[in-house]
């Protein structure tokens, strides 16, 4: 019987960071549906080791994340494994929104809208000032639908998640989880209406 260690609501547009020990299980719940949850991981004992989107894709020979996906680090080691997924598919190639990329993607006047990278930087620097932008890399977008087509296209499509859908991960090493509950209002990644998500952590 596993014990619930922690349960937190991450409000729309907020950052979140926490430590997860090896063997612990966490769940992210898309409480109201269609909410992109930008997520990144570090080895808690060596922050130079971090989640690697391309090594995860390369190892499983597939671009989408779901049950059974091993989240692989830049040292080619398994950091966590997705053990349950009621959504079905998650993105790891779309990255995080940022003030600068918003000017490119939408318009120069979107620069001052809130963004995931601002959340990431704030959470990292509050956690430990040794972190910097250099420590970031392409993240996971849980509950976000970014289909890649055989002719080479990539697009941000309407979500396939829904209220109460969740994903569960078991840590294979001690990790730091870094989350931005995505504030993007310019594309359908959060249904144009960012909503809260739930973080739960069990000892096993």
């Amino acid at each position: 019987m596993s014990t619930l260690l922690r349960q937190e609501t991450i409000r729309a547009g907020d950052p979140f960071m926490a430590r997860i020990e090896a063997g612990q299980r966490c769940r992210l719940v898309d409480t109201e549906g269609n909410e992109a949850v930008d997520t990144f991981f570090f080895n808690a004992n060596d922050s130079r080791e971090r989640y690697s989107a391309v090594d995860t894709v390369r190892r499983q020979r597939n671009v989408y994340l779901s049950t059974g996906t091993e989240l692989v680090s830049n040292e080619d080691r398994t950091m966590l494994t997705i053990v349950d997924d009621t959504c079905g598919r998650h993105d790891t190639l779309g990255g995080a929104c940022a003030a600068e990329s918003n000017t490119v993607r939408y318009a120069h006047d979107r620069k001052f809208m809130h963004s995931c990278r601002d959340n990431f930087l704030l959470a990292l620097l509050n956690w430990n000032e040794d972190f910097s932008k250099r420590d970031l890399g392409p993240n996971i977008n849980f509950f976000m639908n970014v289909p890649l087509s055989p002719d080479g296209q990539l697009r941000f499509a309407d979500g396939i998640s829904g209220p109460g859908k969740y994903v569960e991960l078991v840590a294979a090493m001690d990790v730091l989880i870094l989350i931005s509950n995505c504030p993007q209002l310019n594309n359908p990644c959060s249904g144009f209406n960012p909503t809260p998500v739930e973080f739960l952590l069990w000892d096993a």
């Binding site: 391309v54 830049n74 190639l93 600068e100 990329s101 918003n102 990278r117 055989p150 080479g152 990539l154």
Partner: protein
């Protein structure tokens, strides 16, 4: 671009690593002589090296997972670092990263320096780290690279595969610097390439003067996103040393 006009030239053997510092307006032409080559590439703003090639921003700004003529390689700061001003190849990979020592040994067998001297089987990760180290950079700066001369297709279910279209002897690509750019290259094999024979072909690399992108440039005008990206790059140079030009 005739090769006799190169200002700087290098032939890089398979498996090796190299760097070019390209000031804005210079371009790098890469040629895969044998057709079996792969060029892993990282790029940094040489004036502020925390700014670097960003795979995800490159893909989502241009709604693509392949790189070809007209695409640019975006930094994480909303500016193109390199633009693909010429390309005979058609589909360069962005989503597979590079090889490490264990992957190379699993695919090609063990062949270290003690046994093989300089024919030892080199890998992309070590090559990038040795090159990053030369420029005062490190593991934190080893982000997902682009792979030129390798085509990786994705099926409807998301499964990836290295395409036979990757084999194009003489294929070339031209990358123009839109900022002052530090380009790091590894010619180690693509991570999805099959063994058991380690590749042998050379990559020809030559630098020439291309000049700044014109108003009708194929990369600038490819989409509204790129037009704004070029405006962001030009803003980086809005405050020249010694004041504005008269």
């Amino acid at each position: 671009m005739p090769s006799n006009a190169f200002l700087l030239e290098e032939r890089i053997p398979a498996g090796c690593h190299h760097a070019f510092l390209l000031k804005r307006g210079y371009a790098l032409r890469l040629t895969d002589i044998s057709g079996d080559g792969n060029v892993g590439l990282l790029a940094f703003n040489a004036d502020e090296r925390s700014e670097r090639y960003n795979m995800a921003d490159t893909l989502k700004a241009q709604h693509t997972h392949k790189l070809a003529l007209g695409n640019v390689l975006y930094s994480d700061m909303g500016r193109p670092l390199l633009s693909i001003m010429g390309d005979s190849f058609g589909w360069h990979d962005t989503i597979c990263g590079t090889t490490n020592g264990a992957m190379i040994e699993a695919t090609y067998g063990a062949q270290d320096f003690q046994v093989a001297r300089n024919d030892y089987y080199r890998n992309g990760r070590d090559g990038f780290l040795m090159e990053l180290g030369r420029w005062g950079l490190g593991r934190r700066d080893l982000v997902p690279n682009a792979n030129f001369f390798s085509t990786v297709t994705v099926d409807e279910a998301g499964n990836i595969a290295l395409s036979e279209d990757s084999y194009q002897p003489g294929a070339w690509v031209e990358l123009r610097a839109e900022l002052n750019v530090l380009v790091l290259l590894t010619t180690a094999p693509h991570p999805l390439r099959e063994g058991p024979t380690y590749p042998e072909g050379e990559i020809e690399a030559g630098v020439f003067w291309a000049g700044p992108a014109s108003a009708s440039d194929v990369c600038r005008s490819a989409c509204g996103e790129n037009q704004r990206g070029f405006e962001n790059a030009e803003a980086w140079f809005a405050l020249p040393e010694g004041g504005p030009k008269a």
